[in-house]
Amino acid sequence: MTLVFAGVCSHAPGIVGRAHLADEVAKDRLYGAFDSMRERLEASRPDVLIVVAAEHFANFFMNNMPSFAIGMAESYEGPIEDPEWLGISHTRIPGARSVSELLINEVMQGADISYAEEWKFDHGIMVPLHFLTPNFDLPVIPVNINCQGPPLAPLHRVWAFGEALGAAIEKLPERVALIGTGGISHWPATPDSGKINEEWDRNFLDQWSRCDKDAMLAYTDKNSYLDAGQGAFEIRTFMTISAATSGLPGTIHFYKPIPIFAVGCTIATIDLPTVDI
């Protein structure tokens, strides 16, 4: 088994860009949880980090929108946002082209995907990297699931993609870390920004932590949109991690709605069996 770390986290741009406007205690607790996640990630000694994200029209648009895409570049750059606005400097992030190519070929055994040799990161990847690989020195393979521009891939196809991703990771000789990043309930960048359905979030996170596949696949975009905003389409990223880790349970290390960050901030990891490789 080459998967040495798996987890999920939030990626909202406000987490860094509007940190000065947040309740300081809540912000410090979130930052502490990110630090703990970074320590766990570093302790797993990964060779490469796969980030399953839900980008926000940084690379993919409605002229040619893939449901699933995997990066295959030597390197990436980001953020596309104004660095001052996001609070993260523009930088180049190393990729892992040969690993990407092998990964993509293996994923294609179980799912139909697109690949991309150009990819600019937005806050969806830059915010997690800012906390988890602050020197931007760990090779990254970006994965995108369209969660923004409907029509969206149905959840059972997302699950199949996650299973294909997990099976592909097993074929890699490298030590692989896997992170999913997205929001749960939220109405980001709309007039309702800051609204968070905590009950909905906690229910989903309970299902996620038990890897209750049936419960997670029972969500519909229409109801998620109604109860949890268009940002809830991003549960696809969390579910992919569940599917990729073969139904293993997870541990929620941190959850707290922080309205100025426009999301219920979440840090969680999959309870992987201890591996000595």
Binding site: H56, F57, E81, D82, W85, Q148, A189, S193, K195, Q230
Partner: protein, 122 residues
């Protein structure tokens, strides 16, 4: 009304610093390759964030445009709220059925929409 074209322009502007420089130098020239109505051109050039939101521009695209114009976050949110108060609910796109009223009113409107569709089917 060409929401796709408005969003396409903003998508390309948001991710490309060269496009941003060109737009700063000459807005009309930068907009000319896109099939936009005079109303859309005016909304972009002003910029009228509230009207653009009313058109249906996705907030994930629009927030970058607001940041490009150095519009502060709370001001950005308020401009969208003002826009739908002035111009009415979002016309098109992913927010067309949610509008600006918040979750409760959104739910009521979606339910009404479903009932309406149900009547049509029967």
């Amino acid at each position: 009304m060409s929401l796709y074209q408005v969003q396409k322009f903003l998508f390309e502007l948001n991710r490309d610093t060269a496009a941003q420089s060109s737009y700063r130098e000459d807005q009309r020239s930068a907009l000319s390759p896109f099939d936009l109505t005079p109303e859309e051109i005016q909304a972009l050039m002003k910029p009228d964030i509230g009207l653009l939101f009313h058109f249906g521009v996705n907030g994930q695209i629009l927030m970058h445009f607001a940041a490009f114009h150095k519009i502060e976050w709370q001001d950005y949110l308020q401009r969208m709220r003002d826009g739908v108060q002035i111009h009415g609910p979002v016309r098109e796109g992913v927010y067309a059925v949610t509008g600006y009223e918040g979750v409760t009113a959104h739910g009521q409107r979606l339910t009404q929409s479903e009932q309406h569709l149900g009547r049509q089917e029967t």
